[in-house]
Each structure stands twice: as C-alpha cells, then as structure tokens.
C-alpha cells in the first residue's frame, strides 16, 4: 500500500451542482516529490487543503501511512502561498512556535537548536532575530519553509510557495529546497504553475484538467536523473520532450476531459518516448 492514497476525492459546494473536481485518484510513495499542475480554478489548492486537513472534501478518502486523514495535524507540514508568518514574532520565534508545538516536552535549548538548524539550512542564519516585515518576499518564504521542515513532518505540502517571487529569487530557493529535500528524503506534494519548476523538482507531475468536474488527466513521470540541476537539465533532450508534453497539455488538452469512466489516470513517460510516437500509448 502506498504511503499516501487519495481515492475518489471530490469537492462540491452547496448550491453548485457541478463539483469543482471529482474522481481524483493518486498515490504518493515515501520520499517522493510530486507536483500538481493545472489551470486556476481546477481545485489544486482545495486538494492540498484536504491533504492538510484544513478543508473537508465532499467525497472520497485520503489515507496517509495507513491512517485516514481527518483534520490538520503535525504529521503534515504546510508552506502557505502567503508565507503566513506571524509578524509580531521574530524569524526564529516563528520557527520555534512550530517546534514547540511539535515537541512540547523539549527544553528551551533543544527548541532553539532545532529552529536554528533549519533556518541555517535555508540560509537565514544571519536573520534569526529580525521581524518578518524587515525581510524580502523570498526570505519570508524561506522562513515558512524552515518552519514546515523543522517539525519533521511525514509529508510536506507546498501551496505554490514561489508564486509571488521574482525569477532570480525563485531559482535560488528552488535549489535550496531541492538540497533540503534530498538531504532529508522528505515526501513532498507541491502546487505550482511553473512547468520548469515542476520538472526540476518532481519525480512525478499530476496534470489536472480544467474545472468544473476537473480530474487528474495524466500522471507524467519525470525520467531525468535525480541529480539534475537547474543549470544542466536543459541540455538533456528528455527535458524538452517532457516540457513540450506539459505545455501542450496546459495549452490545448486540459480543456478536454479525459476518457470518462477511467478510474486511474494514465501514466506517461514523455521523456522516453520517441518524438513520433503518440503520447498516449499506455
């Protein structure tokens, strides 16, 4: 049984007969990095919030590590789109707030050490005692990431964490995230709008069709070696095949719902396909 199992997840709002999404099925293995891509309004954030336990789906089940997900918990760390730092606390106090919630029995020194360790990991060792208002957008988001990592959750959920950042900052933080994820073997589920970001970071990419009645139309396996970096991955011909496949989907195929009645979305490996071959052989 997979580490995380999502079965027939659906979300409908009362008074709206067409559900935002339905029949959403996917799994995550331990240590896997999975991105979800789709146009706005297809319910990505709702899926993530359901995984976090912050929202309840109107149908379907989520099981993580053999247990049903019902409500938020410390076994899942969330990085919010708007960083959600508490502005009255310093950087380290924000992280310590999480650490203390996770291990209430820890001594002051232990809490401090844990918070410092993760803040240094994201390169904020020099800004421990600053207030969030004094930090740039990228630094704030780093604090958010450190806070989520510091509680050592079983799964990390990132809701488009770099959406508001400029391209340069985004690149550096992606590298940092990649390093930390590889060092900690963290299981990650992440929403993004950025195709390159998805290819760089993930093992698999879930492609969602447009809502209403959105579903996961395809699961794309990123067959580039795990050691890929931002600087060399675009020299690999597979990168462009995957990239083109994703962009094609977003531009033309996402509007068109996939074969109805199919419970599990097809898995494709566009990186390995011969260009001439039809993308959907499976």
């Amino acid at each position: 049984m997979a580490f995380l199992q999502v079965e027939n997840l659906a979300k409908a709002y009362p008074g709206n007969d067409a559900p935002v999404f339905e029949k959403v099925n996917f799994t995550l293995e331990k240590g896997e990095f999975v991105c979800i891509i789709g146009h706005s309004g297809c319910g990505k954030t709702t899926i993530l919030n359901a995984l976090a336990g912050l929202e309840t789906a109107s149908g379907g089940n989520i099981t993580m590590d053999g247990r049903e997900v019902a409500g938020p918990g410390l076994d899942r760390g969330v990085v919010f789109q708007s960083h959600a730092l508490m502005p009255w606390l310093t950087v380290i106090d924000n992280v310590k707030f999480g650490v203390r919630s996770r291990w209430p029995e820890w001594s002051k020194v232990e809490v401090e050490a844990q918070a410092t360790k993760y803040l240094e990991m994201v390169g904020l060792g020099a800004a421990l005692h600053k207030k969030p208002a004094m930090l740039s957008g990228g630094m704030k988001q780093r604090v958010g990431i450190a806070r989520a990592f510091a509680i050592q959750p079983k799964m990390l959920l990132l809701d488009e964490p770099f959406g508001a950042l400029d391209a340069l900052t985004r690149g550096t933080i992606q590298d940092e995230l990649l390093k930390i994820v590889q060092a900690t073997a963290q299981t990650v589920f992440m929403i993004t709008h950025d195709v390159d970001e998805a290819i760089l970071l993930s093992d698999r990419i879930l492609l969602m069709s447009n809502g209403p009645r959105a579903r996961i139309a395809e699961i794309v396996e990123v067959t580039l070696p795990r050691s890929r970096t931002r600087h060399d991955m675009h020299h690999d011909p597979r990168f462009y095949r995957i990239r083109n496949h994703l962009v094609d989907f977003l531009v033309s195929r996402s509007k068109d719902p996939k074969p109805a009645g199919q419970l599990h979305p097809p898995v494709v490996r566009p990186g390995e396909d011969e260009p001439a071959e039809p993308p959907l052989a499976a």
């Binding site: 336990g53 938020p72 410390l74 969330v78 959600a84 508490m86 009255w88 707030f97 208002a133």
Partner: protein, 279 residues
C-alpha cells in the same frame, strides 16, 4: 529634533503668548468704571481691596491659583478644602477601578463573541442599543440599586468603558488572518495556547485601540459623574469652586483635566505602539 520640530514648537509658543496677551487685554478693568473716592472707601469698609475681582479673571489670577494649588497639592482640610492631588487621586482611582472591571468583562466576552459568529449576531442588537446610551443616564439606576455614590461613579465609568473595548475586542478577534489560524491548526496548537499566542497578539492592536477610546470616554465622563455625585474628585472640585464663584480655580481645574487626559491618552498610545506590528 529636526528643524521642522523647532519651527512648530516656536509657532506653538507664539500662539500661546498671543492667546495670553489677548486674554490679558480683554480682562483689564474698564476705564469707564472709574471709581470715586467714596466707592473706594466703601469697598475698603466692606473688607475688599480696591481691585475687586469682577468679571472674567485675567491670566495672572490663574497663575496665582496655579501656584497656590501646586504649592500644597496634598492638603486635606475637610471635605471642601482638599489639595488638587487628592482630588485627582480620587478621580483616577474611580476611573482605574471602573476601567479595570470593564477589561475583566470586555476582554473575555469580546473573545467569545469574536470567535463565535452566532453569538456575535445574537448579541449585536443589545450592544447596538446599549452603546449609544449616555453613561450618565445610568446614574439614577445605579444610585438606586447600589445606594453608594462612590460605587455609582465607578459603575458609570465601567459602563462607558465596556462598549468600545467589547466591540473592538470582538472585531479584532473575529478578523485575525485566516492564514495564522491555519498555521495554528496544522501545528495542532491547543485552544488556550492558540488564544494567547496567536489570537491575542494578532488582535492586540485593535483591542488597545478600543481601550484607548474607552479611557478617553471614561475621563470625559468622570468629571460629569463627580459633579453629580459630589464628595470628592476633580469633577466635584470644579463644581465646588463654581459654587464659590472662584473662577480662577475652575480654570485651573480645567487645565489639570486636560493635562491628565492627555497623559492618559499618551500612555495608551505608547501601549499601542508596543503591541503593533507591520505585516
């Protein structure tokens, strides 16, 4: 201090001097009321000096009153001759106790109302009706039920302080950013810890604003309340000096009320700065 600061300070000083000058000129004894020798004699016989205090007192009279009062602020020669510090002490004590009682009620209740939309809506009509009532309108009811003028004064301060605090607390608590609450939820923070570590600091600036408004109103109301119930306090002092027709003392008291009110407001402004945050 910047140059602008000095300029504004200088302008304030000039305006103040002009004000004093106009006041001085306007309150000079009129030339037409030249007194005859006989009238002077009569005045002397009546035990009053040649310069009789008629009409609005000139600024130097106020100066004298200030010196007299400040030279012995703690005197206590019976109910009608207490030093200004003693009177202020009584007023501040009433305001302090009434205000503290209001905090004890408004903070927890505001928290509950703010966290429960149902209670918010259910209690809103009552608050809306009770809020605009002049606190002094409660006085007869308070005197009748409490039967103690001092406690009635405290009650009036309590009732006027409670509304702004209650409304602002509820508003602040109800409008804590969802993100912060979600952070607390994902971290499984216990309710009490969440209230103290997340909601309270998030709502603190709004709550403090409510307290500052309350304190402003309380200080306005205490003067009127003490005029009504009498006995002690700065309000009673004003009323008593008015009955003595000692206008310099009344003006002195007005000055003191203004200064103390300003100090109280500054204190709360400082507290506000202490808990405010920038996002």
């Amino acid at each position: 201090m910047t140059k602008e600061h000095w300029k504004s300070l200088l302008l304030s000083a000039i305006l103040f001097l002009v004000f004093l000058g106009v006041w001085f000129v306007a309150t000079q004894p009129k030339e037409s009321a030249q007194q005859t020798a006989a009238q002077d004699e009569y005045a002397a016989l009546m035990g009053k000096g040649a310069v009789k205090a008629t009409g609005f007192p000139p600024p130097q009279e106020i100066g004298k009153a200030i010196v007299t009062h400040l030279s012995d602020p703690f005197k206590d020669n019976g109910p009608n001759d207490k030093g200004i510090a003693i009177q202020l002490g009584h007023s501040l004590a009433r305001v302090g106790i009434g205000f503290a009682l209001a905090i004890l009620l408004a903070l927890p209740l505001g928290f509950i109302i703010g966290m429960s939309p149902l209670l918010y809506r259910a209690l809103d009509p009552f608050i809306q009706v009770l809020k605009p009532i002049s606190p002094l309108a409660w006085m007869p009811l308070a005197l009748y039920t409490i039967k103690d003028s001092n406690l009635s004064g405290i009650f009036v301060i309590f009732i006027c302080s409670v509304w702004p605090m209650l409304i602002n607390t509820a508003f602040g608590v109800a409008n804590v950013r969802r993100d912060w609450l979600n952070v607390a939820r994902t971290l499984e923070v216990r309710p009490v810890r969440k209230a103290l570590m997340v909601i309270l600091p998030a709502a603190a600036p709004t709550i403090l604003t409510g307290m500052r408004i309350s304190m402003g109103i309380a200080w306005l109301v205490i003067v009127a309340a003490e005029m009504l119930v009498g006995g002690t306090g700065i309000g009673y002092f004003v009323w008593n000096e008015w009955n003595n027709l000692a206008l310099p003392n009344v003006i002195f008291a007005i000055l003191v009320i203004g200064l103390v009110g300003m100090i109280l407001d500054r204190c709360f402004a400082g507290l506000q700065r202490l808990v405010s945050y920038t996002e």
